[in-house]
Amino acid sequence: MKKYEVDVVVIGGGSAGLAAAIVVKKADLNVLIIERDKELGGITLQCIHNGFGLHEFEEELTGPEYVQKFINEARDLNIPYLLDTMVIEFTPNKTVYAVNNKEGLIEINANAIILAMGCRERTRGAINIPGFRPSGIFTAGQAQRFVNIEGYLPGRTFVILGSGDIGMIMARRLTWEGCEVKAVVEIQPYVSGLIRNQVQCLEDYGIPLITGYTITKIHGKDRIKGVTISKVDHNFDRIIGSDKFFECDTLLLSVGLIPENELTRESGAEISQMGGPVVDNNLETTIDGVFACGNVLQVHDLVDLVTAEAKRAGLNATEYIKERYGKEIGKKLRIKCEAGENVNYIKPDLINKTDLLNDIIFTFRVKVPERRILIQIRDNKNKVIYKKKRRYVIPSEMIELKLNLNKLNIDSDSTNLVVEVIPRPEVLIEKD
């Protein structure tokens, strides 16, 4: 059995893993990246559209251009990596088992682990679309891989279910290939991806976006022949008499992303309700010395924000090893963060009280779009310690707050914080 001893092992060689590994390496620690695909770069490699790098590099890049900068830097720093290598298990004492076809079974003993496995797409089964099970149904990301990486077209006439970003980007991509995209169908009354993608990928190409509808039947016993879409009520139940038929030979699903945490779960780390692991303000999971960043932690809207988060994870893993923290006490005294009104989830899940002097970065998404709101943080005694006005919030955008709780006069005996998005009081008055 091949064995490695390293300071930090990074599981996943995509945008998150690369950025985290670079930070660790720059701190003069031994780091090893494990990547299951045949090259570094992760899903960003198949995102050949532009719009990357505006935050990180202040220039607009394509996905491959963006991630290549990190691949180059990792190579310049001589960061070792294993390709075509699948982690099959990691243990709480930070032994990682992986396999590949060159070295066989690999055992890596590390002092810290950074989880950067990314996310996967929700499927037809996950949303239980009824009908036949013909060929010609793809998740949007899978179609993207076929078109952009493998160089194959999955079909000619498309309907896309879900207005997630990948779905809208694929609508444009397929139009460029001479395919016809009949419609993008979204069950919510609003688009679920970024507004800029709605404008640049759908509106600019005259692709209809049909909101408040979903697919209620898939037709075609062999290859898909079409879909029936129906208007839904506020419970997402089909409204009878609202059916419309669209002929198509391919259906793409862009119905959400789920952090890929099977390994994390099997290791015994606690997983939060939205699928990512429970982490503290250092991005450390409930297993000592195991950190998480990127889409494995929470689904990000921009890869630039993945990079920023991964750098933090890298830095914290470095500190963990160098100082061995000495912060065990802090881990016992924690403040729990909860998602309140119109907040889908909040990261971190826990704040170590010993870190209260530092800035804490909160990230979250809202459940539904809302205008003229107040972002507010309350403690367990209902004391509002923070509030901020915003003109609007939408579920497709990740909201980030950088706060120093100490300066916000948090009570030292606080145990819980609730982050909530509420209508502004003056709006309430207007309503009255």
Binding site: V99, N101, L105, A126, P130, P154, K221, D222
Partner: protein, 490 residues
């Protein structure tokens, strides 16, 4: 060449008959209309091996199910397919249902079903199955009830039959049968086959096949059953849970699978179309509501797939296994539940019928009843795994991350006797694409392996045969062809 026996239909019934007959010195071939065996009812059913108490006493299927259940022990040892007697509960939610459970138990014991017991102690019941509803007042526990993976069983049977000389022909839809001078000529969409005997195990199409010889004494109605499959680890069940049976079906069950998933279903809906395996909004709702009565904590949001299968329902509601008026033509039709349970007993019956036809059945000297257990990555210890990868590096390339399937298992599935030729064929044999991502990650890689091993282009690789292609061509080809056509038009 004139075969001794042609079996029509490559479902579990046909394949089990093929395997059972392969013991004897006979020339046998099996004709399957689809691209793969186990493509119809055999791939979309509950996989429950019933204890056998459920059918009325005057039905032949009762005795065959009771016998068939017993035969599973040896068969599973010989054929190495997933099988486990985990036991089943029929769940009574009202006091007045207990009497019915007691009656079933009494009759079952009399008919030789071991271990049947009615349990009324709620604490004991909940200890055996903690997920069961608090409303339970009693259960009929059948410890010999079990689970088999119906398609893996079918593949195992076919592989073993093939090893013992049975010829399998797929993509052979039978369109006409003639009978002259004790020889049948079976015309298919791809060639003619001749034999002295025919066993009609065509499932939903059995009545059509029978009618080709003028035997119009039964009909088959498709009865759809819909299912929802949940992710592994979403909920852990110990027992197969049935509601109280109704006149037409055993009801909507909640059931673990041998791969760690849980499924619910089926409902029962008679339909006119033999190929309508579509699921419906109302059907999915119906099975969810039904299942929730037994297990209220169902992980509704962890569903990974819904599907439907069709039962082949004869009017008389019993199996039709007989030597027909056409000498040498045996019908094995209407094999609905508990058909999977009875399958080995049905095959024994077919042997009897062939003997009645005067066939001298001599056991082959080189008959080998065992089919080796497919090697699985998941079964290996870390040390074994390391050794395996050193011997064959394809053990070290993981293709399906949800189910941890290496390239080697896929290559084995393709090159097995009666091996996989399609993406679904690979999926049902060794599980890539069965997991929570439903092929999102592995499908491009499975296509790559199929294309390489079968020496076909990517475009030629299908989901499950003709008209189910996955990729239509290379990028730009479509655009360039359009342009060419456009300029020609001018």
């Amino acid at each position: 060449m004139i075969y001794d026996v042609i079996i029509i239909g490559g479902g579990v019934t046909g394949c089990c008959i093929a395997r059972t007959l392969s013991k004897y010195d006979l020339n046998i071939c099996l004709l399957e209309k689809e691209t793969d065996i186990a493509s119809g009812t055999s791939k979309a059913n509950s996989g429950v091996i019933h204890a056998g108490y459920a059918s009325p006493r005057d039905y032949i299927k009762r005795q065959l199910a009771i016998r068939g259940n017993k035969l599973y022990t040896q068969a599973a040892e010989e054929l190495n397919f997933p099988f486990k007697r985990i036991g089943s509960f029929v769940v009574a939610l009202e006091d007045n249902q207990i009497k019915q459970l007691e009656e079933e138990r009494k009759k079952g014991i009399e008919d030789g079903i071991p271990g049947l017991e009615v349990i009324l102690n709620k604490e004991k019941i909940k200890k055996m199955e903690p997920r069961l509803t608090d409303e339970v007042v009693g259960v009929l526990h059948a410890p010999t009830g079990g689970l088999a993976s119906p398609y893996e069983l079918t593949f195992a049977l076919a592989e073993n039959a093939s090893m013992n000389g049975v010829k399998f022909f797929r993509n052979r839809r039978v369109v006409k049968i003639t009978h002259q001078e004790y020889v049948f000529t079976v015309r298919t969409l791809a060639g003619e086959f001749k034999s002295r005997n025919i066993i009609n195990a065509a499932g939903l199409y059995a009545a059509q096949i029978s009618r080709m010889l003028g035997l119009d004494y039964f009909s088959i109605t498709p009865r759809k059953g819909e299912y929802i499959l949940f992710d592994r680890n979403a909920i852990q069940l110990n027992k197969i849970l049935f509601p109280m049976p109704t006149k037409i079906s055993k009801g909507i069950l909640v059931c673990p699978t041998l791969h760690g998933n849980t499924f619910i279903g089926p409902n029962a809906q008679n339909i006119p179309d033999l190929e309508d395996i579509s699921t419906t909004t109302s059907g999915l709702k119906e099975i969810l509501e039904g299942a929730m009565k037994l297990v209220p904590s169902l992980p509704v949001r962890s569903s990974i797939r819904n599907f439907a299968g069709l039962r082949a329902v004869p009017e008389a509601y019993d199996f039709i296994i007989d030597n027909t008026d056409v000498y040498g033509f045996i019908n094995v039709a209407g094999i609905l539940s508990p058909g999977l349970t009875a399958t080995f007993a049905i095959a024994e019956k077919v042997v009897e019928f062939l003997e009645l036809l005067g066939e001298k059945l001599k056991v082959k000297e080189d008959y080998n009843p065992s089919r080796p257990k497919p090697e699985r990555f998941k079964d290996f210890t870390k040390e074994e795994l390391d050794k395996k990868i050193q011997e064959d590096p394809t053990w070290g390339r993981i293709i399906c991350r949800c189910e941890t399937i290496p390239e080697k298992e896929i290559i084995d599935a393709i090159h097995a006797p009666v091996g996989a030729t399609t993406v679904d064929g690979v999926k049902f044999r060794c599980r890539p694409g069965m997991g929570r991502c439903q092929g999102g990650f592995c499908r491009p890689r499975v296509i790559e392996i199929l294309s390489r091993e079968l020496k076909k282009s990517y475009e030629e690789i299908t989901k499950r045969g003709e008209d189910t292609n996955i990729l239509i061509g290379k990028t730009k080809d479509f655009l360039l062809n359009q342009k060419r056509e456009g300029s020609r038009g001018k």
